[in-house]
């Protein structure tokens, strides 16, 4: 069952996101089904949908953590986050 993770990271901006994304490169990570990123109320909000929790953890451990370091950023304290098994997943054809 797909796994969804939602993070709200105060103090980080879309610019920070882009700096990390540039290090990660355009290749989508294995197991990622959807990624939604937006900025509001001075925080970065990220919705990540994965094939499984293991895929999400592997990506964070092996790629995201080094990417933060390489981008010269420190992961902000996750003010709040939410994770759940995904019962319904529908994706449209268009990407932003």
């Amino acid at each position: 069952m797909p796994y969804t993770h939602i993070s709200h990271v105060p103090g980080h901006s879309l610019g920070d996101y882009q700096a990390v994304a540039d290090v990660l490169g355009p290749e989508p990570p294995a197991g990622r089904l959807a990624l939604i990123v937006g900025e509001a109320d001075g925080a970065l909000h990220i919705v990540d949908v994965w094939d499984s929790k293991a895929h999400a953890d592997l990506f964070a451990a092996e790629r995201l953590m080094p990417a933060f370091q390489q981008a010269g950023l420190k992961p902000g304290p996750a003010e709040s986050y939410l994770e759940f098994d995904t019962s319904v997943l529908e994706l449209g054809a268009r990407t932003a």
């Binding site: 993770h5 953890d57 964070a60 451990a61 420190k74 992961p75 902000g76 996750a78 986050y81």
Partner: protein
Amino acid sequence: MVWARASEDRGAPPFWLWRQALPSPEVLSAYGIDRHEPDQATERIASFDEATRQLFASAAGRAVLLVLDDVHWADQPSLLLLRHLARELREVRLLVLATYRTTRADTTVGWRAVLADLIREPLTEQVELSGLSAADTVRCAEAVSDMPLSGAAGAALHSMTGGNPFFVREVARTLPASAGSDVTVPASVIELITARVERLSPLTRRLLGAAAVLGEQFAVAVAASVIDQPVIACMQSFEEARDSGLLEATATAGERRFGHGLIRDAVEACLPTAEKADLHRMAAQAIERRYASQLAPRLADLARHWAVVAVTGERANAIEWAVRAGHEAVRSLAYEEGARLFQMALDIGDPNLGDEQRCRLLIDLADAQWRSSDLEGCRTACEKAVAIAQRIRRPDLIGDAALTVEPIGDLAWDLNVRRWCDDALSAAPEPEAAYRARLLARAAEASVYLGEHAAADQASRTALALADRSADGTAVIAALGARQLACSGPENLAERDTIAARMVEMGLGLRRRTTELRGRLWVIDILWERGDLAGIAATLGRLEWCARQAGGPFSRWHLLCTKAALAQARGEFTAALELGRTAFDTLRAVGHPGATGAYMSLATALGHHIGHDRTGALTMLADTPPDTTEVRDELLGHIGPALVLAESGRLDDAAAAYRRAGPASSWRPPPYFRIPAWVVGSLVAAALGEDDDVAVLRDRLLADRGRHAVTGAGNASYFGPVELHSGRAAAYLGRWDDAESELTVAAGTCRAIGAAAFAVEADCELAAVLTRRGGGDDAERSRQLARHAAAGASELGMRPWLQRARALAQAPSPRQPTASTLTARELEVAGLVAAGNSNREIASALFLSERTAQNHVQHILTKLGLANRSQITSWVIARQSDE
């Protein structure tokens, strides 16, 4: 530079050190081995050899530094491979730097033993590491704290930390910016670290606790999973721990490690027992989830986690994982690790294990101990297993125990093995054919060593018939091995021809080169026993190919031993010595007792012809303590060195060694050692004047006339045709005509097969016989033979025999000693000697001291030119007939 680090945890996979260091570490576990595969002992050596070659190849054309950190914590199989590597290091640009702690609490018995071996290696150099100097301590502290330190503060810091760089760094982190001269060291470094951890966020502290139970280096995803958090939620905590110097990144993506082992110790020490057990349970479950499809390298780690959980009374998981890890370790050739894990399962399960489970665990333990040459441990485990199996009436388990070990020539051990086989075979319902065949084969081998040859013959025949019926490859190979052993006496060559051919076929059919090689070596043994030196030379090409295909040092060693023995038999002494030494060096790294035994056998035969000072045998005898691990070779282990000592003129030492073997009439060598035992024994007995033994051994040799002095199982030297030795013994006993006829046959045989040095020896012995006999044209024939022998000895470089042949060639015409040569008292003593009296009895009869009687006997021998009491007897009898 290659860096590998041993782990303090006992949860690392077997050969962990080398899994990090080797370019292709799968060589240490790629050998899919059947539990009853007979070639496992050599299999591990082959994998060690391959690992060493990999490292050497990586150092081809460039210098390589291999750092092995904290090697005192390495698992035992890793240490054995390190020892193997150290013994092989020659002319390779590879520097191995192993660091270890010297405090006894930090070392294992295994490491201390291997360290002692490593230090003995000539290339090993020890460098003692001490703390930083006072100046360096200050420099280090200033670099860490980024502030200057006063002289007094530096001195205090050095005094408090002893210059230990880790301690210096830890204290330096705490230095207040304004207190350059006020250094305060906490009561312990642990306390200091604990204080640092307490300043971290709650999530980071939980994460560090989870990491501490996982190990010094751990997977980030697993650590997060242990505290039931997604990794992304822990990223900031990992950063926090890194910023405070507690964790650091590693070269492996997705992993972190503690900044120092002590940091991990401190974090773990702060965990309450119940919480620690919970964390270990969650760690085990996280690992099972995370690596569900690739658990093999993590089995020992899982066993470690569940073992901690077991303190709460939850033992089943700990036992299950320890057993799985134990089997994996044995499969990976890490036998010592396997034994440790099976013992751990037994310890955890005690006293709640069921009888059957305990029995099976003991058999697994015995199996791992047998493979790691821990014979005493193996014996104990087997006996316990069998006692349980008997109590619960499970003959199948008794059979499994019997098949775990092999007979070794120790009476009690071999009797046990055979009794266990018999018990298992008498079970109802009857075990399946292949299993019965293996049990019968094992029983047959035990019977051979127990000297019960009829039983061995019958059991091995039945085993082979059953194995053939079952068409089970393992059973057939076991049965062929048993039949070969039961037939290893020289009278069974025809049957062994068939057995050897079948073994070669099995090897070819199963594509097992080691099995094929075993069969081909049996073929060569048979050729030796037939004295077919040309046949051996003709098969060397195929043997060489087969040894290359089989790979590993044992295969090379077998090939070199065969070539060395062939050269020795043909009188090519320089080549024989060189090949023999190369063979010895090939197995030197392994430390296998077979290497010494085979070389000593070759050196003894070579020294017999060229002088023992030229073979290194005397030095080896002085340097090598007697090997007591292979009791099957015990007899030759005594009389072989006795021959070297006797022929080197050290008669007292020779006599001491010879007497340890007991009287010759009590010798019961295995069938394949029979003729060499009689031959070597007769040579020593003659040199020591042991008349009775010479007579006994001559009789035994006569039963083997037409054969050759070689072993029927892995021959490493040639000692000539049997007639050479029976003839020499006849000469010793004064039976001149028998001696002449047997030595003549021997000389002819040696010439026919191309054993040039033995032809020289036979000619010399025959010349001596003719000189002594002194009849008709004996003197002239003797001189001709001696001149011929001298030419041969000179050509071949047989220094001792050249001297003897020259002396015989120049000897004046022998004259028959007459009675007038002796005094009346000596005639009287000679008569008493001929009547079979000992010196004590003669002394008593003539009212002399025993010493005086002994002097009279010595004078008689000297005056008559005789060698021993038997010849005095012959002389007296001949004189009485003349009169």
